[in-house]
């Protein structure tokens, strides 16, 4: 197995050129993607469900809760977002539990591009990152120059991470090369200034085979993270699609040595759910991914549930929603 390098950096670029023949033409890319092993949906879902029965208690639960908090991209992506809302969220990211300052910080705050400057100002001096969605999120229905300008704006305003959406229309029409080229262009825009998360909107890709192919397109194009969904459609992150994407980053690293992160987003609301995802990470790719550099949760309400469970573990009783902050 080749030595491991992160997807973000020059080493990775070198590794990817070794696979240049795969992405040399539309037909080569199609042959490669359709040559990936198929996914048996029943088997995949059975495996995800069986890992969901792991019983995580006491010390293991405490560890998992703190790890989950540290992996959250605390997110607000509403048309109604205001600078005040973003500043409140930033403050919460830095001090999630006002009654217990030992709580870990979240990994990042995730906002729309026009809120990046506000978030950045609120988080300066902390290690909490600013992530910005871009490329005409969530539909991605805009021309490439618009998407690139969107990305450029966010980075100029101080974004450390860019969450882009792929062109699902192009993907479903079989124009894989267009999807690949677009991700590459956004990656070039990010350069060494920002890490790139590539959102597939798995609910719209609809089949597991498609999710595996999209994962490989994203990784071949230089994604630092592959991310399930926007949180704006009916089906978002599920244990099954996240398990499949974990298998994809595992296989990609085995082939190229390049390590890529995974971010399930949308629909993960309880501690119990979050722990199930951490078990998936632990038993599929192992502890090298059990770090917020390699695994994130795109979530907002999840944080309060984690905090309430954390308080329960430390005090022995349930506190209730008035003991965590409403944002």
């Amino acid at each position: 197995m080749p030595t491991t390098v992160p997807a973000h950096g020059n080493d990775a670029a070198g590794r990817l050129t070794e696979l240049a023949d795969v992405t040399a033409s539309d037909s080569a890319l199609r042959r490669f993607l359709h040559g990936l092993p198929g996914v048996d949906a029943v088997g995949l879902e059975a495996r995800a469900a069986s890992l969901g029965t792991r019983s995580i208690k006491t010390t293991a639960k405490a560890y998992a809760i703190d790890l989950a908090i540290s992996m959250i991209d605390l997110t607000t992506l509403e048309g109604a977002d205001t600078p005040g809302k973003v500043r409140a969220l930033a403050a919460k990211a830095v001090n999630p539990d006002p009654t217990d300052r030992t709580s870990p910080r979240t990994a990042a705050v995730c906002v729309y591009p026009d809120m990046v400057a506000t978030a950045k100002a609120a988080l300066t001096g902390t290690d909490v990152k600013v992530a910005s969605v871009a490329t005409a999120f969530p539909a991605g229905r805009a021309a490439l120059p618009v998407k690139l300008a969107d990305t450029r704006d966010a980075i100029a305003a101080g974004a450390d991470e860019i969450d882009m959406v792929i062109d699902r229309g192009a993907f479903l029409a079989g124009r894989y090369m267009d999807v690949f080229e677009e991700i590459r262009a956004v990656k070039a825009e990010c350069g060494d200034k920002a890490r790139l998360k590539v959102i597939f909107e798995t609910g719209e890709l609809s089949t597991y085979d498609n999710i595996r192919r999209a994962s490989w397109i994203g990784m071949l194009a230089g994604a630092d993270f592959i991310k399930t969904s926007t949180g704006k459609v009916a089906v978002n992150a599920t244990p099954s699609n996240t398990l499949l994407m974990l298998e994809a980053v595992r296989d990609f690293r085995a082939l190229t040595g390049v390590q890529v992160g995974v971010k399930p987003a949308g629909g993960i609301r309880t501690t119990k759910d979050a722990i199930k995802f951490l078990v998936l990470v632990n038993e599929t790719v192992g502890e090298e991914w059990l770090d917020n550099h390699w695994f994130r949760f795109g979530a907002s309400s999840l944080l309060n549930d984690l905090l309430m469970q954390r308080q329960k573990l430390s005090t022995g009783r349930y506190s209730g929603p008035d003991y965590v902050t409403v944002d």
């Binding site: 092993p37 048996d40 088997g43 495996r47 792991r54 019983s55 078990v279 632990n282």
Partner: protein, 476 residues
């Protein structure tokens, strides 16, 4: 820091095991004639769980007579009335499933995850399923009003004690037979708890009788003149002895014996799910499954890739305390079985196959065997031909579908097989050529009461489960 799972043991307090148990004959627990007893131990700790009566030939005779006496009224009941008892038993099993799961795990050594999520739900489902048949026998395809046989003598193995009991008792009662059942020597407890469930359900006396004991007890049962039907699940050697015993009598016989199932993985298989299926095929219940996928036949072009994935997956299996909810691999059922697995695995090495097992610490007390796989296995090796009945996988390769079929069928057994491919036409073409009672496609070790189960060749004859399962208990 790594994500280490804290112990998560299921509580033992939900089950109350008595220090001793008698035989269940004619609705009462009674001592064995002569008062002989034997101990049953927990294979994961060697702790003695209870003392159980050792049934003699006289006890078997008492039980058969009780069953004969009960048969008259039981068989005369309308099917809908028999169904009520079966539905009641099924519901009590569901209500007591946690208790029974813990009990089964203690007595057998298998992980609580399996007794809780596989054994017990299937046991209840089997009773529910055959309860539904009891008043529909006219429509089962055997003509109007098919008649029961009489007294069924049933001998079951230790690998799925309660599930095998369900497979035997549910169809027998639904069709109007009465039963004398002998559970395995190393796992008598769940059958005795089932006797209590029969009382709880108000089942008439003598309809179900449980006689515990060893091989001699079982031999006395199958040889008894008052038995009209013999059903046995267990080893091929014992099955042959039973066939000789009943030869020349008018007893109806079904045998469900050993296997050496081939799990065939083609190069277009869904690899990650195939790996899960291989694990499920051979490490479910520590491989102590007659239909285990103990031979992996993998297409040469993907052999290395598949074995890498499989080894990585085996390294994540969690072996240990069977009562821990996170345990994947429990204990081997007995010292005797452990010795047999060890001997066969050693023969694999001696004959030139390459042995591999993940780093895995075995507990000191109890009977344990690490999940093991052998590569460079040929058809001539003992580990490719003999049933190991343990967590040992023999890996062979093939180049063409024809070769895969030839190798899969090249066995004295024919109980199960698996096919892994994303190509439907290949799946159907290969399945039709395999000489095995069950062929799973893109899955393995999936059971359902509606599906008939049974063997070809030395894996036995007769079918259990489904509509086919009724035939073994009807005079047709």
């Amino acid at each position: 820091m790594s994500f280490t799972y804290a112990p998560a043991p299921e509580s033992r307090s939900v089950v109350d095991i008595a220090p001793s148990y008698g035989l269940f004959i004619d609705g009462e627990f009674t001592e064995a004639t002569g008062g002989k007893v034997f101990k049953t131990v927990s294979p994961s700790s060697e702790e003695v769980l209870s003392e159980v009566a050792h049934g003699s030939a006289e006890d078997v005779d008492r039980a058969v007579k009780a069953a004969r006496k009960a048969f008259e009224k039981w068989s005369a009941l309308p099917g809908s009335e028999r169904a009520k008892y079966l539905f009641r038993i099924a519901r009590i099993i569901q209500e007591r499933s946690r208790e029974l799961a813990v009990l089964e795990t203690l007595d057998n050594g298998k992980p609580i995850k399996e007794t809780r999520d596989a054994d017990l739900p299937l046991v209840a489902a089997h009773f529910f399923y055959y309860a539904g048949w009891a008043d529909k026998l006219d429509h089962a395809g055997y003509g109007a009003n098919p008649r029961p046989l009489g007294v069924a003598g049933q001998v079951i193995p230790w690998n799925f004690p309660l599930l095998m009991l369900a497979w035997k008792i549910a169809p027998a009662l639904a069709t109007g037979n009465t039963v004398v059942l002998k559970p395995a020597e190393t796992t008598p407890l769940s059958a005795l708890f089932f006797a209590d469930i029969c009382r709880q359900a108000g089942l008439p006396k003598g309809v179900v009788n449980i006689v515990t004991g060893d091989g001699t007890t079982g031999a006395a049962l199958v040889a008894h003149e008052g038995v009209n039907k013999v059903a046995f699940t267990g080893s091929t050697a014992v099955g042959k002895a039973i066939a000789r015993t009943v030869a020349g009598s008018d007893k109806k016989l079904t045998l469900e014996l050993g296997g050496k199932g081939a799990n065939i993985v083609f190069d277009d298989a869904p690899i990650d799910q195939a790996v899960e299926g291989i694990v499920q095929g051979i490490f479910f219940n520590q491989g102590q499954v007659c239909c285990a996928g103990s031979r992996l036949l993998v297409q040469e072009s993907i052999q290395d890739e598949l074995l890498d994935s499989l080894k990585r997956r085996l390294s994540t299996l969690r072996l240990g305390d069977p009562l821990d909810k996170n345990t994947d691999i429990g204990a081997i059922n007995s010292a005797e079985q452990l010795a047999r697995i060890t001997e066969l695995a050693d023969s694999g090495e001696a004959e030139g196959a390459e042995r591999w097992a993940p780093a895995c610490e075995l507990p000191e007390a109890g009977y344990w065997f690490a999940p093991t796989l052998f590569t460079n296995v040929t058809q001539a090796h003992r580990i490719a031909r003999e049933e190991i009945f343990g967590p040992v996988l023999s890996v062979l390769s093939f180049r063409t579908p024809a070769e895969a079929v030839a190798k899969a069928n090249n066995s004295q057994y024919g109980l199960s097989a698996g096919i892994w491919t994303e190509k439907g036409s290949r799946m159907l073409a290969v399945a039709s050529k395999l000489r095995a009672g069950v062929v799973w496609a893109n899955t393995f070790n999936k059971f359902d009461p509606t599906s008939p189960f049974g063997g070809f060749k030395e894996s036995g004859f007769g079918r259990e489960g489904g509509r086919h399962g009724l035939e073994a208990y009807l005079d047709v």
